[in-house]
Amino acid sequence: MIEFHHVSKTYGPALRALDDITLEIRKGELVFLAGASGAGKSTLLKLIFRDQEPSAGQILIDGKNVTRLRSRGVAALRRRIGLVFQQFKLLADLTALENVALAAEVIGVAKKASRTKAYHLLRELGLHERYDAKPLTLSAGEQQRVAIARALINDPILILADEPTGNLDAETAHETMRLLLKARDHGATVVIATHDTAMVNRYGDRVISLRRGEIADDLRRAESSGAVA
C-alpha cells in the first residue's frame, strides 16, 4: 500500500527531518507513528500526501511512484486520501454539513448528492442534529467528528491523521479513535501520527517509533497477547 525506499527529507543544509527511511505499510493496517516533537512524524505524513517532496528516495502508493507528481497528479492522489488534523481545519463560515460536502463537491460530485452523503455520514457519527451548526458553535470533539466525516466522504483508501486527539479530552479522544478504527474495519489503511502513548498502547496494531528522523522501532501487536511487541 505505502512503500518508502531510502527516503530522506532535509530543510536546508543543516536540518535533516527524515534520514534514509525504508518501510512498508500494508493495506488495511492501522499504524501509529510515535515519537517526540520534531522526530519527523508530521514530515513523514506530509510526504505521503505530497504536501512536501522528499529530498531523496522513492515513495510508492498502491504501486505508483508519487515522488515527483505534478499538481494534477497530487490532486488526484489526495482524492483517495482522507486527512484529519489536530486543528480540524474546518471553514468557519460553512455549516458542518457544508464542510463535509465541500470535499465531495470539489471533485465533481453534484451538490445534492454531496450533501445527502454528508448528512448520512454525520448521522453515522452522531452529529446529524447539528448539521447546520457553524464550527465555532461546536465542541472540539464535535469539530473533530466533522473533520473525520469530511475525510471519509470520498471513500478514501488511506486515512492520514496528524495528532487527531491532541486537542481533545480523554473521552472524546477515545471516541475519535473508535471512528478511525471503524474506518480501518471498512478497509481503509489508517496512519496516525501522535505522541499520546496511552492511545498508542491501547489502539496500535503497529507502532513505528521515530527518533531524530530515523526509525527507532517498528513493532506489531502480538495477536494473542494484545500487547505491542
Binding site: 500526501f49 504536501d51 499538481s71 494534477r72 490532486a75 488526484a76 492522489l77 489526495r78 482524492r79 483517495r80 486520501i81 486527512l83 481545519k89 474546518l90 471553514l91 468557519a92 463560515d93 465541500l102 470535499a103 463537491e105 470539489v106 471533485i107 465533481g108 460530485v109 453534484a110 451538490k111 469530511r150 470520498n154
Partner: protein
C-alpha cells in the same frame, strides 16, 4: 469542467462577490476610471474625425485664372478639370460674378469698390473633390499639379487647417494608446493586488480545497471569473460615465467646435467602440487575476503556506 463543478464555481463566486463586495466594487471602480479615460480619448477622436470628415466635404480648391485666358477658352478648361479623377464638381466664377460676390460680401461697405475697374478680380474655378480624395496629401498634390499649368495664376486651398486638424486627430490617437496603455498597466497591478487580497482572505478555504484534492484550475476559476465580472462592471460603469460626460458637454459643443460647429453634430461612441471598452475591461480583469494567481500561488507554495 463538469456541470457539478461549474455549479460549485458559480456558488463560490456568488459567495465571494457578496462577502467581499466592497473590495470588488472598489476594484471595478478603479477599472471604470481607467476605461473612462480610454473611452474619453476615443470619444474625442471619433468626434474630431467626424468633424474633419464634415469639414472635408466643404473643402474646395480655388484656382484663379490667368488674365490671358479668354472667355472662349473657359468651357474647355472647365471640362478638362472636371475630367480629373479626383474632381467631383467644378464651378466657374467669372470676373463679373466674382465682383458681384465681393460686393455682396462687403454689404454696406460696398461703396469702397467705387472707382475700381469691374475686372479687377480674376475669374476662378471652385473645385470640389470626391469624398475619397479629400485627404490632405491628395488635395496638396492636385493643387500642385494645377499650379504647374499656365492657365492658372494661383491656386488656394485651406492647407494649414486640413493639416492641423489631421495632426490633432493623430495626436489624440497616440495619446489614447500611450496614456491608455499606462493606465491599463497601472490598473493591471491594482487588479493583481486586489486578487492577492481576496486570495489571502480565502487562504483557509484554498488550503482545504487543495488538501481534499481540488484541481488548480478549480481553485483559480472563481478568482478569474470574479476578475472578468469586475472588468465587465467597470466597463459598463465607464460607458455610463462617458454618456454623462457626453450629455454634459453637448451644450458646450458649439463653443468647442467654433466655426465648424454648424457642419457636424456631436457623436457618442458607436456600438463597436462600446464593445471595445467592455471587452477591454473583461480582458483586464481576467488577465490581472490570472497573472496574480499564478505568481501568488507559486510564492505561497514556496513559502510552505499551502499544501
Amino acid at each position: 469542467m463538469t456541470l457539478a463543478l461549474s455549479g460549485f464555481v458559480l456558488r463560490r463566486v456568488g459567495s465571494s462577490l457578496w462577502q467581499l463586495r466592497w473590495s470588488h466594487l472598489l476594484t471595478a471602480a478603479t477599472m471604470a476610471v481607467t476605461l473612462f479615460f480610454f473611452g474619453a480619448f476615443m470619444l474625442l477622436q471619433i468626434n474630431l474625425e467626424h468633424l474633419l470628415k464634415g469639414w472635408g466635404e466643404q473643402i474646395q480648391i480655388t484656382a484663379y485664372l490667368s488674365k490671358n485666358v479668354g472667355v472662349d477658352e473657359m468651357p474647355a478648361l472647365l471640362a478638362r478639370v472636371q475630367a480629373l479623377p479626383e474632381v467631383e464638381r467644378v464651378r466657374l466664377i467669372s470676373q463679373e460674378q466674382a465682383w458681384r460676390d465681393f460686393q455682396t460680401a462687403l454689404g454696406a461697405q460696398s461703396s469702397l469698390l467705387d472707382g475700381l475697374p469691374r475686372d479687377v478680380l480674376p475669374a476662378s474655378l471652385e473645385i470640389s473633390l470626391k469624398p475619397a480624395h479629400r485627404d490632405s496629401p491628395v488635395v496638396e498634390q492636385l493643387a500642385a499639379r494645377l499650379r504647374g499649368e499656365k492657365e492658372f495664376a494661383s491656386v488656394d486651398y485651406p492647407q494649414e487647417w486640413v493639416e492641423r486638424l489631421g495632426l490633432i486627430v493623430l495626436a489624440v490617437d497616440w495619446a489614447k494608446w500611450t496614456l491608455g496603455g499606462l493606465l491599463f498597466l497601472a490598473t493591471f497591478f491594482i487588479v493583481s493586488s486586489a486578487v492577492k487580497l481576496a486570495f489571502l482572505a480565502r487562504q483557509d478555504e484554498i488550503e482545504i480545497m487543495q488538501l481534499v484534492g481540488a484541481s488548480e484550475e478549480l481553485i483559480q476559476a472563481p478568482f478569474v471569473l470574479e476578475g472578468m465580472i469586475q472588468g465587465l462592471v467597470g466597463g459598463a460603469l465607464s460607458v455610463a460615465m462617458l454618456w454623462g460626460l457626453f450629455v454634459l458637454t453637448q451644450s458646450e459643443f458649439p463653443t468647442l467646435a467654433g466655426f465648424m460647429a454648424p457642419l457636424v453634430r456631436p457623436q457618442f461612441l458607436d456600438s463597436a467602440s462600446i464593445a471595445l471598452v467592455l471587452v477591454s475591461g473583461w480582458l483586464l480583469g481576467a488577465a490581472g487575476s490570472l497573472f496574480s494567481l499564478r505568481r501568488f500561488i507559486r510564492t505561497w507554495k514556496a513559502t510552505g503556506h499551502a499544501a
